[in-house]
Symmetry: C2
DNA sequence: CGGTGTCTTGAATACCATCAAGTCTTGTGG
DNA sequence: CCACAAGACTTGATGGTATTCAAGACACCG
């Protein structure tokens, strides 16, 4: 899951406003291409799409019902989650601004997971066929898309290794460092020592690392005791980056 | 990892023979398209490629050195493995005949894992650029390729769930059932009760399920005691499919 | 024939889950 | 604005699953 395709906004958008979205989409594509110096500006015609804003904890995209729409996150955090019949959950990937839930959504309509908002989330739904056609028409966009796909797969494989072969401390440290990485590419990390918005509840961390919320609490407390990180007011500060990396890499 | 792109052979091939490979590749593509009734026969020009045969346990494709080649398995079993610095290993996917190590190899040159032969393996290496160009030139092939990609990602996400949220028994039962599924699509499963070649050592199962060989041994013994499966002479028989599924699905 | 790889089994241990109780925060309706 | 409920987090006690350690049986190969 989780493909960053650079459909980000530079300015706030009137939520749900169709005109606003259309403008923004054009903007976003230009921003995207500008950042990459690949696509000349204004080559892209706006796609049909619909903007939405949902509060935290709402389900954005549920397996069975949505067929032809591909959601792209504009702002906020979300998660792609596989639900098991006993109520336990596995977060397959976190979705940050600019992410499509999964690159596979462009091709496949049978999903095995749902997308849930963690914070308030603004997102846009694209028509799958149109989005696909557009990507294949513009090489620069396709390039971006395939690179998003490679990133997504790399992260998935990394997660497999983490869940299969690493301890609780390592998993949690790596989760934090991965988020740090992704967020700093989005320019969402502030200052020195590094600090960023951290809307995850401990149960989110548990669902992502294959642990229980109780154990996550214990590990995070230990991290704090050791002066590695600090979490307060939904914000995470990395106090000792080398130390945290040491915990994460160990082995 | 692991993309089945239908580059299989119908007949044995003189190992390493360039002419043989070229013929076989044409054959293979036709077989592939015939199986799908999508590509008209003979539309495809043969690609440059090289055939290889390696014994079990040999490394086929190592991260750092191979840049522009994409290996495709012709016969035998292989595994894509992530090595950790303490010597522990995680198998990210098993590669069966017709599988490309990963669809991402078409686009990305920086690999984080190696491909190892489990049995003797025949495989072919394609030039990445040429293979890519060919896929994008022929819509039917591209279609096949994207579907391989979706399968690959689906399996990766399933593995994430298994490693994150399932017990040892469940993981091992699911591994067996997944292999049964894939092998039966390749027509490599015989008879009733279902039975197939099973070259995996217990340490392979351990590396794939995130367990230790010792514990794999105990679980398999229990499966046998309960009359679920039987393994002998590198062949696995599923004696009680519903029972095994019950163990696998549980929850 | 020794060496290596594979598998099995038992005992001790470690890591993480489960259970439980309590604090604190957040949100909601009266 | 307060009261109450629900959610979030913490901490300690206990237990289970899987690991680690160890030793031995067996097959295969050079």
């Amino acid at each position: 899951m989780n493909a960053h395709i650079g459909l980000r906004e530079t300015e706030p958008l009137v939520a749900g406003s169709r005109a606003g979205c259309a403008i923004c989409l054009g903007l976003a594509f230009n921003v995207c291409s500008a950042a990459n110096a690949a696509t000349p500006p204004n080559v892209l015609t706006p796609l049909r799409q619909s903007g939405h804003t949902v509060p935290a904890r709402r389900i954005i995209w549920r397996g069975p019902d949505m067929h032809d729409v591909v959601p792209v996150i504009c702002s906020g955090w979300a998660a792609a989650i596989v639900m098991l019949s006993d109520g336990s959950r596995q977060i397959v990937s976190f979705l940050l601004p600019g992410d499509m839930a999964s690159t596979t959504m462009l091709f496949d309509a049978k999903p095995y997971c749902q997308v849930e908002a963690i914070t308030e989330v603004r997102y846009r739904s694209f028509n799958r066929g149109e989005l696909k056609a557009m990507l294949f028409k513009h090489p620069a966009l396709l390039e971006r898309f395939t690179s998003a796909w490679v990133d997504e797969k790399t992260r998935a494989d990394q997660l497999i290794v983490d869940l299969g072969r690493r301890t609780a401390d390592e998993r949690i440290a790596r989760l934090i460092l991965n988020l740090l990485d992704r967020l700093s590419k989005l320019d969402l990390v502030r200052g020195e020592p590094a600090e960023f918005d951290f809307p995850l509840r401990q149960h989110h961390i548990a669902d992502a690392t294959g642990l229980t919320p109780v154990h996550v609490s214990k590990v995070l407390s230990e991290f704090r005791r050791n002066g590695l990180i600090n979490i307060s007011e939904r914000s995470l500060t990395i106090l000792d980056a080398p130390g945290l990396r040491r915990v994460a890499q160990m082995r």
